[in-house]
């Protein structure tokens, strides 16, 4: 491998080296000091995140199977930040779970392996690489979902995730084979001209689409979501809901906007129907959830429905709004999951009714949660408002006013259940509230980063300008 190739594959290779380093550490560190692997892993990944921001050349490798671009590079960095926050928030939990059955190194290795899969998936230049990335990103997560092997729910979540995702990838692969049968190529660059609207091709596109819809948990491919989120450890639930979803949305958008551009009349309708179904089902089911993890699961289904409004436009502006929303969504959702994680780790309580009176005992955590929920609900001046407004603008730019109308109806519905949590924390008083506690340094750092993101990313407009510029660049 030459130096220039290495630079293009930088993210993947460095992360692979980190995995190897952790493996070595697992062997080298005596069993009494296994906890230091956590610091080691977070430290290495922190370095990796920072190094990731160094500029990257736009190029391709392996005959077009792997490609880089400014926007792809940016999305990888966004995913890195998300994973870093997630590691900070999970550190305490991993530490608490540390036994001979739960090795900290396993957690890091599996998580990073999945992340490498995502890198390959979003960098893919053909369907083969795409499929490899998709599988690599899913399988380790299934193992992680059953990380708490002594808990039944956790094992169940793992089995559910692996079975349903295997089915989804299978269907996706079947779709890819039909696309290949119809066009004779699996390279994205060639496919752009070869896509036609014959039945085999359409069938292939739809089947392929279903596989990705599963990862994004669009209705009607969402049934696994709530159960898996509830059973899996909180870190994994939040990984599934932000990182995994974010990368899948991104690659789906890229494929629809570039490779399948000529079929826009077809997938526009599909997206329209899915968006309406996803928003309504996600929101209506979220209304009555009591468990915070299930609550956030349905909320994240509904958020995926909103993202489709950016995708439906099919323009570079739409691409920019989608990436921007993913960025904001990662921060907002991680903040919400972080608070759930902190409280669950300290007290084991995960129900909304347990949060009653939280502001009076733990004001800071409540404020973080409030900001996160306002951001998810799209209330200015926090970032989520800008993300959502721009998604709607993208949809309206193509004249989908009815869809925007349905979406804003859903925003109002979603506001209701987000306010339920705020009601519990701020309005209610409890005889036995969750007592005051101080989180560990890592957790606090993780929450502070998310709050900073929520506060700044919306108002500070150069962020969006930058994403917009890269999207324009990619689409042309």
């Amino acid at each position: 491998m030459t130096w220039s190739n290495f630079l293009i594959l930088r993210h993947e290779v460095v992360l692979l080296l980190i995995i190897l380093a952790i493996l070595v550490a697992e062997i080298a560190i005596p069993s009494k000091k296994k906890g230091s692997i956590i610091h080691f892993g977070i430290f290495l990944f922190g370095i990796h995140t920072i190094v990731g921001f160094l500029p990257m050349e736009e190029n391709q490798l392996f005959g077009g199977m792997f490609r880089t671009h400014g926007l792809i590079h940016l999305v990888k960095n966004i995913l890195n930040i998300g994973v870093l926050i997630l590691l900070l928030q999970s550190a305490e939990w991993i530490q608490a779970k540390l036994t001979s059955e739960h090795k900290a190194s396993e957690f890091f290795i599996l998580l990073f392996a999945s992340l490498i899969g995502m890198y390959f998936m979003i960098s893919s230049g053909d369907f083969l690489m795409f499929y490899l990335g998709l599988e690599l990103s899913t399988l380790p997560v299934a193992a992680l979902a059953s990380y708490e092997i002594t808990k039944r729910a956790s094992s169940e979540a793992g089995i559910k995730l692996i079975l349903s995702s295997a089915l989804a990838s299978g269907i996706s692969l079947f779709g890819i084979s039909m696309i290949y049968a119809s066009s004779g190529s699996i390279y994205f660059a060639e496919l752009v001209d070869l896509i036609s609207s014959n039945h085999l091709m359409l069938m292939g596109v739809i089947l392929f689409f279903s596989g990705l819809a599963f990862k994004i948990s669009l209705v009607p491919f969402h049934f696994w979501t709530a159960d898996v989120y509830e059973g899996a450890p909180i870190s994994i639930a939040s990984y599934l809901s932000v990182i995994s979803k974010g990368s899948a949305v991104f690659i789906l958008t890229i494929l629809l906007f570039t490779v399948l551009k000529s079929l826009i009349d077809v997938w526009e309708n599909v997206i329209y129907a899915l968006a309406v179904a996803t928003m309504f089902i996600g929101n209506l089911f979220a209304l009555r959830q009591q468990n915070m993890k299930r609550f956030l699961a349905f909320s994240s289904i509904a958020q995926a429905g909103f993202i489709l409004l950016g995708i439906i436009s099919g323009t570079s502006m739409g691409l920019a709004t989608v990436v921007y929303f993913i960025l904001i969504y990662i921060f907002s959702n991680l903040a919400a999951f972080g608070v759930v994680q902190a409280i669950s780790g300290q007290t084991g309580k995960e129900n909304m009714s347990d949060y009653e009176g939280l502001y009076r005992s733990n004001p800071n955590l409540s404020l973080v949660m409030m900001l996160a929920l306002f951001s998810l609900a799209g209330i200015p001046p926090v970032a989520g408002f800008f993300g959502k407004f721009f998604l709607f603008t993208a949809a309206a730019s193509k004249g989908f006013y009815w869809l925007v109308f349905l979406a804003v109806v859903n925003v109002t519905i979603s506001l209701y259940y987000y306010l339920l949590v705020i009601r519990a924390m701020f309005l209610r008083k409890s005889d036995a509230p969750i007592p005051f506690f101080r989180s560990k340094l890592y957790m606090r750092l993780g929450l502070v980063i998310t709050v900073a993101g929520i506060a700044v990313l919306g108002i500070y407009s150069p962020v969006f300008d930058y994403i917009y510029e890269l999207s324009m660049n990619l689409m042309n």
Binding site: I379, F390, F392, T412, L415, R423, L427
Partner: protein, 495 residues
């Protein structure tokens, strides 16, 4: 630093300082200082505006324009004309009075004042925005603190009322969002790209078909917060549960966003849509005027009486705006101001009465004039202003509205006007009924004889609101002058 941006910066600094306060004393001191500075700024703004207006003929003065999101052509664009200047003045006075009235707020004082000032920031920002996007941002910013303000510090069915109010207003803003996007994507008539700027939008002459589609969305989006019948139901419940200062801000300031938004955006940017749809909204607003008045007659809870009276009075604002007539518009703006001071005063007084008698039921009280003379006398004055007695602000406003409305030759408008005028009679009924039962007559309970006297902060709060009511009533011309000149460009755009 331009003079208008200060109205966002000073509240922001106030909030920042409030975060570091430790008890009620510090919190209210900071909040008071902040609101006094805002008041001083708004008075200065009025005089600066009058001075500047004499030499500058452009529609908006003190403008400032910075690009915010370039890809969407979103600007931070602010400016003021005579109407926004008076609205800002109203806001600053009501906020200051609200801080005085909340002098003894119980739990979580710091959070209370922070939420109150956030609300005020949203309102200031709304009144000075020239860009639809920023206007929308401030609109939502003003609404969301209401949830916490009513939910945490409210009474009665506070959780229900807070949720109902927030969801209805947010649903309205959602409808408004569709309207705004529709306006935005139809604004490129000259080939210069899309714009959110209100002045450019008005000049762009949006195609008539698009206006007809998006006018009702924009109008309803704003009118819900202006308590248009049948979307007014959030308001009485919200009032009934809200703490005193929040009721004051809610009725005095927040509900004014509706009329102002209708005037500034719906009518100005979409005049042809307005002409097309005005008939139905005239019916609704005229009905609201009558309905609110009759509903107030039937109520026994003081807060509900004034809440329905607000529905009636603000229905009149929307009614007047739909008349497309300079006199009526002038009346609508004065009515907004007058109602702002008057209702804020009413709710302040109701809060004081409730604190002393621990009831808001009119039937349980009597002879209060003998035991708490200052509060009762002011209540009478506010009541007289509300029913439109000459010498008070209400008269000036309603006179203008009805004279303007009746100028229409069209029989349809005349009937609607006559119907609305009749509400004045009903207003007299519910005002005088309360005065008669609650204030006159014998003192009903022994305990009422020992009611505490009015404290200094309550006195200041009352005076702050009473003076403008009398001021506008006695010398309306300077205010009319301020507003009337600013109506020019709007009336030209519409007719």
């Amino acid at each position: 630093m331009d003079i208008l941006s200060l109205f966002l910066i000073v509240p922001a600094i106030t909030i920042l300082l409030l975060v570091f306060t430790r008890n009620l004393g510090q919190a209210r001191l900071i909040a008071l200082l902040g609101s006094i500075v805002q008041f001083a700024m708004s008075v200065h703004l009025v005089f600066a505006y009058i001075k500047e207006r004499a030499i500058d003929d452009s529609i908006m003065l003190f403008t400032k324009d910075l690009i915010w999101f370039e890809p969407f052509n979103i600007h931070y664009s602010i400016g003021a004309d005579g109407i926004s200047v008076t609205m800002v003045l109203l806001t600053s006075i009501v906020v200051m009075a609200g801080v005085f009235i909340s002098w003894r707020i119980g739990e979580l004082p710091k959070e209370f004042f922070i939420a109150l000032i956030i609300l005020a920031t949203g309102v200031y920002g709304f009144f000075i925005s020239l860009d639809l996007f920023t206007m929308f941002v401030f609109f939502e910013l003003a609404v969301i603190p209401m949830y916490l303000l009513i939910g945490i510090w409210g009474s009665g069915r506070r959780e229900f009322s807070a949720m109902k109010l927030t969801l209805m207003l947010m649903a309205a803003s959602a409808v408004l969002l569709v309207g705004i996007l529709g306006i935005y994507f139809n604004s490129d008539t000259a080939g210069n790209g899309f714009t959110f700027n209100i002045l450019e939008l008005a000049a762009a002459n949006i195609p008539a078909e698009a206006q007809k589609i998006f006018f009702p969305l924009t109008f309803i989006g704003f009118a819900v917060i202006g308590a248009l019948f049948p979307f007014h139901t959030w308001s009485p419940d919200g009032h009934a549960s809200a703490p005193t200062a929040v009721s004051m801000l809610h009725a005095g300031v927040l509900m004014k966003l509706g009329g102002y938004g209708v005037f500034r955006v719906a009518l100005y940017v979409l005049p042809e849509g307005a002409v097309e749809w005005s008939w139905i909204f005239i019916i609704l607003s005229a009905f609201g005027v009558i309905y609110g008045a009759f509903a107030a007659v039937r109520q026994t809870d003081l807060k509900y009486i004034n809440a329905y009276s607000s529905v009636s009075h603000l229905g009149l604002v929307l009614f007047a705006l739909l008349m497309f007539n300079k006199t009526a518009w002038n009346g609508a703006i004065i009515q907004s101001l007058s109602h702002g001071f008057m209702t804020a005063l009413f709710f302040a007084l109701i809060g004081m009465i409730y604190e002393r008698t621990h009831t808001r039921d009119v039937r349980k009280m009597g002879g209060l004039l003998k035991v708490i003379p200052m509060i009762s006398a002011t209540y009478v004055v506010a009541g007289l202003a509300s029913l439109g007695l000459p010498g008070f602000s209400g008269f000036v406003a309603e006179m203008n509205i009805f004279v303007g409305a009746f100028e229409h030759e069209n029989i349809y408008y005349r009937i609607a006007t006559v119907v609305s005028v009749s509400a004045i009679v009903v207003t007299a009924v519910y005002i005088l009924r309360v005065v008669g039962i609650m204030l006159m007559g014998p003192v009903k309970e022994e305990a009422y004889l020992q009611l505490p006297r009015v404290s200094w902060y309550e006195r200041v709060g009352i005076l702050l609101l009473l003076l403008p009511i009398i001021g506008i009533g006695v010398a309306p011309l300077w205010l009319s002058d301020l507003i009337y000149k600013s109506l020019h460009p709007f009336i030209q755009g519409v007719l």
